[in-house]
């Protein structure tokens, strides 16, 4: 770095000086640009949740107001959409994580016929474009004449694409799990269920929790697959989509901001908790 400055020192040159400054700070500048790119849209969402739009459109800044937050469910349909999304996200993430944990245990622990195939099949939903998943699920449901579209079809779809994420997350933790710990528990008089409860589960809990949160996050904002399979039900993402076509109300920004803040808080709590554990260790 310093050797580059030597030839230019003879004839101080404005351009060279600028270049040298840029070179020295290039990483800092790049980092700033990167975070601006990452965070600007979120900042816009937050700021416009306090906008006081005069017409239908919440696209230009008109003035500050608390009203959107005070009357967060003031738009017809938004309340039921949010509750439907929450309900589906909770149920889907719990079921998908439970199933995913069991699949991960089976895949890591037992050598069975077709294990390699199962491993690949588990990855398929992760690599298949969502639009294909959604459309083919719609075709499947249409062919099953007894199916009525709505809550159950959305739930089935969400569990389906969440399972893969849960399996991958829990599996990563189980791969490094010392089998002798379970043998030790059994050696000390714990039967299979007690061993699972007292040893396997507590040691796998961080991964299971991570899987749960991941599934929740994926489920609550899913649009594509839900759009195909929701029938007349409206989840929050579907509501936003519908509202945006005629002009999204500022309450959409309020909900978006609220979700972001909750996620951020959960993350911070997690970080603090992990730090504490490390300090105690």
């Amino acid at each position: 770095m310093s050797s580059i400055a030597v030839p230019t020192a003879r004839e101080p040159n404005f351009l060279a000086t600028v270049l040298a400054v840029v070179r020295r700070h290039v990483l800092t500048v790049y980092s700033f640009l990167f975070f601006a790119y990452l965070l600007l849209p979120i900042a816009v969402v937050m700021i416009f949740s306090f906008n006081n739009p005069t017409g239908k459109f919440n696209y230009t800044w008109q003035g500050f107001t608390w009203d959107n937050w005070r009357y967060w469910d003031g738009v017809p349909g938004i309340r039921s959409a949010i509750f439907l999304s929450l309900e589906i996200a909770v149920v889907a993430s719990v079921i998908a994580t439970a199933l995913g944990t069991m699949i991960a245990l089976a895949l890591v622990r037992y050598g069975f016929r077709g294990r390699a195939t199962t491993n690949i099949l588990i990855f398929l939903p992760l690599s298949t474009p969502e639009i294909v998943l959604g459309a083919s699920l719609l075709t499947l449901f249409l062919n099953l004449s007894f199916v009525t579209f709505g809550f159950w079809t959305i739930l089935i779809a969400h569990i389906m694409f969440c399972i893969s994420f849960a399996v991958v997350t829990v599996k990563a933790r189980l791969v490094g799990f010392d089998r002798h710990l379970e043998e030790a528990a059994m050696d000390l008089g714990a039967n299979e269920w007690t061993t699972f409860r007292k040893v396997t589960l507590p040691l796998t809990a961080p991964a299971i929790l991570a899987a749960l949160l991941l599934c929740f996050a994926i489920s609550i904002d899913d649009f594509v697959v839900t759009y195909f399979n929701s029938g007349s039900e409206v989840t929050f993402p579907l509501f936003v989509w519908g509202a945006a076509r005629i002009g999204a109300p500022a309450q959409v920004n309020v909900i978006g901001t609220a979700i972001f803040v909750v996620a951020l808080a959960a993350m911070l709590v997690n970080v603090v908790f992990q730090r504490r554990r490390e300090v105690r260790a």
Partner: protein
């Protein structure tokens, strides 16, 4: 610590049965696919003994231990704990406890809860539980460590927690799977004596799996030397060392000089160069044809004092401190000789020096001559 009480308990247990061995393996075989790990093995382990399964890696010793613990089921054969046959019985219903090579302490539980784990499963609660756990922590010299987590302890301390966690359940048999493998040499020596003393104090039968012959000889009353899934020889440490029955045992326990030759008469063997040597009375045991005569390095003298003699030339010398080790070239191959440095001022022999080696026929043993063993 009521050591006397424990000895009393063990005496009571001994009195209860009529000399039934604690463990009996009846023609056990275990195969994993094409690989036979344990091959038609039978074994009895007497009550209260410190028993070692010794052998190189892959000889089936750990598999044998895991079958006793209930972690593997034998492909064929029966396992008895006392008078009860335990095939198909899961580990949690067997009256044995294991100290794992990796210790397998529960990382999410405190030292106290690790040791209490087995007692809690049996329904021990409250003051009784606390008393037993603390007594056991005291026995392994870890009182006051109860609140810590396993990762806050050193390797040697973790090892002792593993011992406490198993012993607190007063099992019929304690299984130790290479328990000292992860410790450094000095600590390993300390723990060998500690575990031996512990076994003596608690009076429980210990079965110890190891590949370290010195460790097995230091700790165990009886050793089964295993090779390729079978027991080569079973005996006390000195029996195995002084009178190995196979070339494998002779070379696995310490250094052996094996001189090949042919039986030339009662208690006489003619070596390859024509020299006739005498062997211990009866040690040929009816063998005919080719045999190998074994002599331990410390039993050979660098002079012609004893009746069996061989001429030789010093090839290498290594000063070890307490002794000096020579490699001597003879017409029957290289012979290792260890001479104790117990006389000050003795001028040592150097490479190239000629000498006569001699040994007492009583110091020899005879094994079958094997290809590749020399």
């Amino acid at each position: 610590m009521a050591v006397d009480e424990r000895i009393q308990q063990s005496l009571e247990r001994a009195a209860e049965s009529s000399g039934t061995p604690d463990i009996r393996l009846d023609r056990i075989t275990k195969s994993f696919g094409d690989i036979i790990a344990v091959d038609d093995l039978s074994l009895e382990i007497p009550r209260g003994s410190f028993f070692a399964l010794l052998g190189p890696s892959g000889c089936g010793k750990t598999t044998t231990l895991r079958m006793i613990g209930g972690f593997e089921e034998p492909t064929a054969g029966l396992i008895y704990l006392g008078e009860r046959e335990v095939s198909g019985t899961p580990p949690y219903k067997r009256d044995v406890n294991t100290v794992f090579q990796s210790y397998a302490l529960f990382p999410h539980l405190s030292i106290f809860e690790n040791v209490a784990f087995g007692l809690r499963r049996k329904g021990t609660r409250g003051g009784n539980l606390k008393g037993k756990v603390e007594e056991m922590l005291d026995l392994v010299q870890l009182s006051g460590y109860g609140k810590r987590k396993p990762r806050q302890l050193s390797g040697g301390q973790q090892q002792r927690v593993a011992l406490a966690r198993a012993l607190v359940n007063s099992p019929r048999v304690l299984l130790l799977d290479e328990p000292l493998g992860a410790l450094d040499l000095k600590l390993r020596k300390e723990m060998q004596l500690f575990i031996k003393r512990l076994q003596h104090d608690v009076g429980i039968t210990f079965i110890h799996v190891t590949h370290d012959q010195e460790e097995a000889m230091t700790m165990a009353d009886r050793i089964a030397v295993m090779n390729e899934g079978q027991i080569e020889q079973l005996g006390t440490p000195d029996e195995l060392y002084e009178r190995p029955q196979t070339a494998f045992v002779a070379s696995f326990l310490g250094i052996s000089n094996l001189l090949t030759g042919a039986v030339a008469g009662p208690d006489e063997v003619r070596l390859e160069d024509g020299t006739t040597v005498r062997v211990r009375n009866g040690s040929l045991n009816g063998r005919k044809g080719r045999v190998a005569v074994g002599i331990r390095p410390e039993k050979i003298r660098p002079d012609d004092h004893d009746p069996n003699r061989l001429p030789g030339k010093v090839k290498e010398r290594a000063y070890i401190g307490v002794s000096t080790q020579y490699i001597v070239e003879t017409p029957n191959g290289n012979i290792t000789v260890v001479v104790l440095n117990d006389r000050p001022g003795t001028v040592p022999l150097g490479p190239g020096d000629r000498l006569t080696l001699s040994w007492d026929p009583e110091a020899t043993f005879v094994v079958d001559s094997l290809e590749g063993s020399a």
